[in-house]
Amino acid sequence: MTKGIVTGIISNLVHVEVDGPVSQNEICYIDLHGVKLMAEVIKIAGNTAYTQVFESTRGLQPGCTVEFTERMLEVKLGPGMLSKNYDGLQDDLNKMDGLFLTRGEYTDPLDEHSVWHFTPLAKAGDAVQAGDWLGSVPENWINHKIMVPFKMEGQYSIKSIAAEGDFQITDTIAVLANAEGAEFPLNMIQYWPVKLPIRAYASKPRPFKMMETGVRTIDTLNPIAEGGTGFTPGPFGTGKTVLQHSISQNAEADLIIVAACGERANEVVELFVEFPELDDPRTGRKLMERTIIICNTSNMPVAAREASVYTAMSIAEYYRSMGLRVLLLADSTSRWAQALREMSNRMEELPGPDAFPMDLPAIISNFYSRAGYVFLNNGTPGSITFIGAVSPAGGNLKEPVTESTKKAARCFYSLSQERADSKRYPAVDPIDSYSKYLEYDEVKEYLDGNIAPGWVHDVLTAKDLLLRGKEAKDQINILGDDGVPLDYHSRFWKSELVDRIILVQDGFDPVDKSTPIKRQAYMLQLVLKICREELVFANYEELQPYYTRLINGLRQMNYQEFQNAKFKEYEAQLMAIVAERRAK
């Protein structure tokens, strides 16, 4: 193994003089008086390796010795990851003893001694390749597949495989042989370098299904596809985190991976506390059972922040290879970009816009491209849907991280300060935001077929109402209430109906916080029906009180269980209000 000696230190950038070969992204350990600090090679010049240390470098001195590992930064994969709380390097936070995170303390991501009930899914003599399923163990409510390690290239045959029974992850469960007859005993553990995508699948079609999130402004107006990508840029306090938390609670996914990347510790604690208590609306089990939390809070070392999103993505790819629907949420990818910027500046690289590294757009689009809908080699579908939060500096969307992400992600949910200020949550701007999937023929077909006939048309009608309402509002603001035709006021108030009833959603109300798609369809159709009514008003002053009543009635419906007695009562009252002004 190559060894080295520390020669320079600038914050967490450490120069190491090496005595042998090193590779880009190789992991090394720096010995600081017996404490081993993990670091990653990020540049090599002559016999100097530039490393980014995943820990504080306080007290480090030139002359400290360094050992290289010949491995890149890897995740350790196997049963037992569900419900775990990891740091950015996949250390199990619950296994750490102290109140404080201790430098150089790395813990096992898996539980070496827990016992799993293994059922073989293949038999001796079968031909297999990387990613093929050898067997399965129940992990919480998931059938966790034990797979041929992704690192094994080429074809193998199964020499032997364990019979159904209880095993620890380190027990051998199968022996594979290659064409030359060399044997490879396998246990339930495998490793994967996080910066590389796992490609053990047959094909990656365009996403064609919708993934329900329970959030109306997304599902109804700009749906995200299963296996699709989206991002939520927004100034601070506009609701990115609340939106991600509510998606994580209600989305139609088998597994949720939450990457808290450079954000507040208290927000992660909220997940730690709530998820073990909250019910998964689909399975009735606790949310924590289908969740993995990766957290690198903002006060943890920045290099590990960059690693955290890759760790999360690699774990997502691992579970996707089992034929599961994985939802990956990262809050916030801007912090990851900032971590890259910090390192790039320390290495005195030529800076791009706003001092971010020149290759930022490429890094971001590579990352987003790891999401997607796939058919595995055995034909089973699996998916990673990815939604990233972006925190634009100064709330200005014309900054490098937002612009680069816009090129990579297919859904754009722009959170607006104005909406947040007027407490119209979720503050997703209905005019600026879009879902490219609404333009996919296969998605349109899916929506019309699965939600309601003519659904896409209804959605476009709603968008149109919103746009025309905004235009009318602008005119009213310029010309004054009585300076515009009455029709402008009608247009404005119709858009208010769509906005306040369909888009505005109370993230903290037990009923309203998540709306199943059937209910979303019902409410949209009801609102559109009212908007199509020909209502008569004598002057503009009559509209505000009248529409306020309509809005109140519809909001009461939103707070009731779908189709319960109260719901129907409010609906009847509402129709009576509509009748008051219907043209005779």
Binding site: T7, G8, I9, I10, H15, S56, T57, R58, G59, L60, Q61, P62, G63, N85, L93, M96, G98, L99, F100, L101, R103, P235, F236, G237, G262, R264, A265, N266, V268, V269, E270, F272, V273, C295, T297, S298, N299, V302, R335, Q338, R341, E342, N345, E348, P351, D354, A355, A393, G394, G395, N396, D421, S422, K423, D481, F508, E541, T548, R549, N552
Partner: protein, 440 residues
């Protein structure tokens, strides 16, 4: 901070800039402290045997033959109960004429709390100020800044808030404090008769700016001692964080780092997060709450300092002089305590969240009405009523000098609702209407 035995001493500097110097030395650790001609300095860069130090008080008059003494350790603070009631400079040395502190020596700027060892903040902090208690309730373990114009009385407001809370310890981290403000705090604390629970680390405008960089971590190291060892609830006041950031940019500039937005270092987010994330609620009952002041110029919150702060803290409070009543209020429209939902209606009366949002909504209708009026449009009857409501609301509830408990704030707000609005306009859940809307 005195030196100890076995110190390495050098007397030949290779390079001197306005804030840093470079020396050829070996066996030096990163972030190690030293003195250069008696001035405190810290290692910020090591390249081979070339060691760069930042000299906190500046390099004026430092010669190439200056005596450089390495301490063999990073900045530390001695912590014990003796800290109570004392005033220190940025280095943790007493400035009140009292004796040195005896106690355990701890490194400042230490590691982060393991997130799984934190507790979800849930203890309410009462201040008697409605702009906080009613609209933006604070919680122990929270971190929140005041965004204030430099001419607003933020130090007075902070002192008021601090003294009205039931914190076990109040730790002041003063950065670039004017001497007058320093004396104001000192007098206010002394005359409140609570001096023993107050500890101050102060860098005034008379002191060199780079010294400020030590202040937050000194204050927070002391806070951690009381929160962890004594399970106390500790309130840390940091004022003014903008001046701290200015010092950061001075140092990074002197080290030829590429500045990012507004000439701030690219690491500003991480630098500030390391401070603010020390706010914590421990399961054993101890807590660290941080209330800071970030002065902003011309109300521009897109500037890198307030912008990064907003992305880190759990909300922000805006001070505003209400010209209608001629008093300072906490602006209900733009202020937000993000943790308020953890206690509102749970630790306070059940109608609290609804009353709060109704009053904020009606108040913002008043703001719209005002704009309408200024643009020369006619006001409707409703507009007129919102304006009257907003004025009473500011006077009787929001003004910073009002000091009442939350129940009373709620009752007064209900009375104002009823005075100016119909039930439909107030639009609060029926169950609360029945309880608090008085029958005529």
């Amino acid at each position: 901070m005195a030196g100890t035995a076995f110190q390495k001493i050098y007397t030949k500097l290779n390079q001197i800039t306005k804030a840093t110097c470079t020396v050829t030395a070996t066996g030096v650790g990163y972030e190690e402290l030293a003195t250069v001609s008696g001035r405190l300095a810290q290692v910020v860069k090591i390249m081979g045997n070339s060691v760069t130090l930042q000299i906190f008080s500046g390099t004026e008059g430092i010669g190439t033959d200056a005596e450089l003494v390495f301490f063999g350790k990073p900045p530390t603070l001695k912590v014990s109960d003796q800290l109570g009631g004392r005033f220190f400079n940025a280095y943790g040395d007493p400035i009140d004429g009292g004796p040195e502190i005896e106690g355990q020596e701890v490194e400042i700027g230490g590691p982060s709390v393991n997130p799984v060892r934190r507790k979800d903040p849930s203890e309410l902090i009462a201040t008697g100020i409605a702009g906080i208690d009613l609209n933006n309730t604070l919680v122990t373990g929270q971190k929140i800044p005041f965004f204030a114009d430099p001419d607003q009385p933020y130090n007075q407001v902070m002192a008021t808030v601090a003294l009205r809370t039931k914190a076990d310890k109040i730790i002041l981290g003063g950065m670039g404090l004017s001497n007058d403000d320093y004396l104001y705090y000192k007098n206010t604390f002394e005359s409140a008769g609570v001096i023993d629970k107050i500890i101050s680390f102060v860098n005034t405008t008379d002191d060199p700016p780079v010294e400020r960089l030590l202040v937050p971590n000194m204050a927070l190291a002391a806070a951690e001692y009381f929160a962890i060892e004594k399970n106390e609830s500790v309130l840390v006041l940091l004022t003014d964080v903008t001046l701290y950031c200015d010092a950061l940019s001075i140092v990074s500039n002197r080290m030829d780092q590429i500045p990012s937005k507004d000439s701030m270092p690219g690491s500003l987010y991480s630098d500030l997060a390391k401070i603010y994330e020390k706010a914590v609620q421990f399961p054993e009952g101890g807590s660290i709450t941080i209330i800071a002041v970030t002065t902003i110029s011309g109300g521009d919150i897109t500037h890198a300092i307030p912008d990064n702060t907003g992305y880190i803290t759990e909300g922000q409070l805006y001070l505003r002089r209400d010209t209608d009543i001629g008093k300072v209020i906490i602006d209900p429209a733009r202020s937000l305590s993000r943790l308020k939902t953890k206690v509102m209606g749970k630790r306070t009366r059940a109608d609290h969240p609804q009353v709060m949002s109704a009053s904020v909504r009606l108040n913002s209708d008043a703001v719209n009405a005002k704009t309408k009026m200024e643009n020369g449009f006619d006001l409707s009857d409703y507009d007129e009523r919102t304006l009257k409501f907003a004025r009473d609301y500011a006077e009787q509830i929001l003004a910073i000098d009002v000091n009442v408990d939350t129940d009373q704030m709620l009752d007064t707000t209900w009375a104002l609702f009823q005075k100016y609005f119909t039930r439909e306009e107030v639009a609060i859940k029926d169950e609360f209407m029945q309880l608090y809307w008085k029958k005529a």
